[in-house]
């Protein structure tokens, strides 16, 4: 401010009072940065989101190489070494059958991440197809399709998943099917809402007026532009699916033994609260929580980065 004041008191020399040629607003043109780069920049400023991202990367990395870092298979029993605390031989200790908890933890990570990503992806596929058709076609089709969604939406997700599991029987793929059976509803609603909004936009109507076929309008314009909120929903579906798998496995409705899942590992370690070997409980519990945290933090950050109005 003081600089400006100094100028005010100055009497400028006569020679500067000459007209000067210039194009209008020549130097005030601000080039807007690319939208994608802007989103990445905002995401990079969110420390929680960045932490979440790197945790996810680390978890995926460990899920891939973790089990092969130790000379034990996840289901290899050694009753002579049962219930050992963490040591140089068994980094995370052993369980009551003498199985290596480190190997089991990262095998569990494979299952959790596989279930999470697959369920989210299938939700996306079903939801985009259903919601996309409903929103794009509109009219009576839309009414009927959305009424169906409304009806099923009243069913709580965990309850319906449990019921499907009862019918389908335990197993890795049945869990995914049971979760997707009602999991796609939210995505379908979201996609439909996005499509309805975008349909009103001028450039879409312009594309229509130019005679571009509907299929291409949908694929080239509508879906790419609806990507933002869908991506966020996808990121947040992963931890929800991981949680559901863990909860089902905890109840004995999940992946069958001896396959290691964080949920079953937690359930089987419950007894250690009384015996004192709580490290067995600690590892699966910690990694479920860490995974949930990482995906939620990253998903939230992504949502805020995509919609700066919400960034607060």
């Amino acid at each position: 401010m003081s600089v400006e004041r100094a100028h005010e008191t100055l009497d400028p020399p006569a020679e500067v009072f000459r007209p000067r040629a210039h194009g209008p607003a020549a130097k005030t043109v601000v080039v807007a940065p690319g939208r994608r780069r802007e989103i990445v920049r905002r995401l990079g400023q969110n420390r929680l989101a960045v932490a979440g991202f790197w945790i996810i990367v680390a978890l995926v990395f460990m899920a891939i190489i973790g089990p092969s870092l130790v000379p034990y298979a996840y289901d290899e029993q050694n009753l002579l070494e049962a219930n050992e605390p963490p040591s140089g031989r068994h980094w995370f200790g052993t369980d009551d059958f003498g199985r290596d908890v480190f190997a089991r933890t990262w095998t569990g990570a494979r299952i959790s991440l596989f279930v999470g990503f697959t369920a989210a992806f299938l939700d996306l596929v079903v939801g985009v197809v259903y919601g996309g058709i409903s929103g794009y076609v509109g009219g009576t089709t839309d009414d009927v399709m959305m009424r169906v969604v409304d009806l099923l939406y009243g069913l709580p997700h965990l309850l319906s998943t449990v019921l499907f599991m009862v019918v389908l029987g335990p197993g890795l793929f049945t869990i995914i099917v049971a979760m997707v059976a009602t999991g796609w509803l939210g995505m379908a609603r979201l996609v439909r809402g996005q499509i309805l909004q975008l349909k009103e936009l001028e450039y879409v109507q312009a594309a229509h007026a130019l005679g571009i076929p509907s299929r291409r309008v949908l694929a080239r314009h509508l879906i790419p532009n609806a990507m933002g909120p869908i991506l966020v929903n996808l990121t947040l579906t992963v931890p929800a699916a991981i949680f559901t798998e863990a909860a089902l496995s905890f109840l004995g409705l999940g992946v069958p033994l001896p396959l290691a899942s964080w949920g079953t590992m937690t359930a089987q370690s419950l007894v250690t609260i009384l015996t004192g070997d709580t490290w067995r409980l600690f590892f699966p519990a910690f990694f479920i929580s860490l995974t949930m945290f990482a995906f939620n933090a990253f998903g939230d950050g992504l949502r805020d980065a995509l919609d700066p109005r919400l960034r607060r």
């Binding site: 400006e4 100028h7 100055l10 500067v16 009072f17 000459r18 007209p19 209008p24």
Partner: protein, 350 residues
């Protein structure tokens, strides 16, 4: 008598994208009982100035603040929050731009007028409600009892703005700040609201600051005009002087943008080319230089002070400097061909 006196007000606001240097030394005064129009395009700092007068920015939003806002002998910038609160609504009231958003959608009209009374007077809730109904009828709302019990979404835009005005009048303020009170309304309603403001001004004897980007509105209503650009007042004077002898190139531009009855249908409406400068960075010279057809080297290097351009008429333009006179002569002559003359005044439109 001067009621409000803003002296060299500088203000920086924190936003998500960093500090915006919103005001660069705003100097402005309003006399008791007069109507001052503050004119400028969106983003020039009109609204920010007015909200600073009322102290509507929280300490956390303000990056820096300098200058003085004198009101009835006190500096509002120095006033503790509690006294400032007592001043808001009772001494200085504000009418917001959009009556859709300025009223709480879940509270009745009567409640929102009544709470303005209850905030300042020791009266019963019932008495406040009776007064709210009286105020509604005073601002020309038909069936005021019924309307007082209704919610904002049940009223038309015009009625809503009348309700907002009623809530501003609740405690008989000495200064009413109307921030673009008609921008969000239909053209026919605009005229009614302006007429209402003028009659209320006479009735209450209060001063009004009318913030607008529409010079047409100004011509009908105001006693004085202050033209604002990029966080500064660039020209200020009595309404006749501004319309007949404008002396800042930005004001020339604003006047040229007005559609006139004499404008031929084939003629394109004039606009000012370019956009206002980015207020995030420092500006050593005149902020308008980039868009100005008469700019000189000095304009980019030195901040123009206020020059006298006539009686009570001032303009912050280097063209008024004695050194510039010979050069400016030619441009002024060229300008006068397109500058509005008496006949072209939009005053005749009403």
């Amino acid at each position: 008598m001067t009621l409000l006196e803003i002296d060299n007000l500088h203000l920086g606001l924190r936003t998500a994208d960093g500090i915006v240097h919103a005001l660069h030394g705003v100097t402005l005064h309003v006399d008791e009982g007069e109507m001052l129009a503050v004119v400028g395009e969106s983003g020039c700092g009109k609204t920010v100035t007015m909200q600073t007068v009322l102290g509507l920015f929280s300490a956390r939003e303000i990056a820096y603040r300098q200058g003085r806002i004198g009101f009835a002998g006190r500096d509002l910038l120095e006033l503790p929050e509690d006294e400032m609160r007592r001043l808001r609504g009772s001494q200085i009231a504000m009418v917001f731009q959009d009556p859709m958003t300025a009223l709480n959608p879940t509270l009745t009209i009567g409640h929102q007028i009544g709470e303005a009374i209850l905030a300042h007077r020791r009266v019963s809730r019932a008495a406040a409600m009776r007064q709210a109904v009286a105020l509604l009828s005073q601002v020309g709302v038909p069936q005021p009892e019924m309307r007082a019990a209704q919610y904002p979404f049940q009223l038309s835009g015009g009625l809503r703005q009348r309700a907002v005005i009623a809530s501003a009048l609740a405690c008989g303020p000495r200064l009413l700040i109307a921030d673009e009170p008609t921008t969000a309304l239909d053209v026919t309603i605009q005229a009614q609201i302006l007429a209402l403001l003028r009659s209320l001004q006479r009735q209450y004897g209060m001063a009004i600051i009318l913030v607008t980007h529409d010079l047409g509105v100004v011509a009908e209503m105001a006693d004085r005009v202050a033209v604002m650009y990029a966080g500064r007042i660039v020209e200020e004077g009595p309404i006749d002087a501004i319309f007949s002898r404008p002396s800042h190139p930005y004001t020339w531009g604003l006047l040229e943008c007005l559609p006139r009855l004499t404008t031929l249908r084939s003629q394109k409406l004039r606009t000012i080319e370019g956009a206002p400068p980015d207020l995030a960075g420092p500006l050593p010279g005149c902020a308008f230089a980039d868009r100005c057809a008469h700019a000189m080297s000095v304009c980019w290097e030195y901040l123009p002070p206020m020059f006298d351009a006539g009686t009570k008429h001032q303009s912050a333009c280097w063209l008024l400097h004695p050194h510039a006179a010979p050069i400016a002569e030619a441009t002024r002559l060229r300008q006068s061909a397109s500058a509005p003359d008496e006949k072209g005044l939009p005053r005749g439109r009403a």
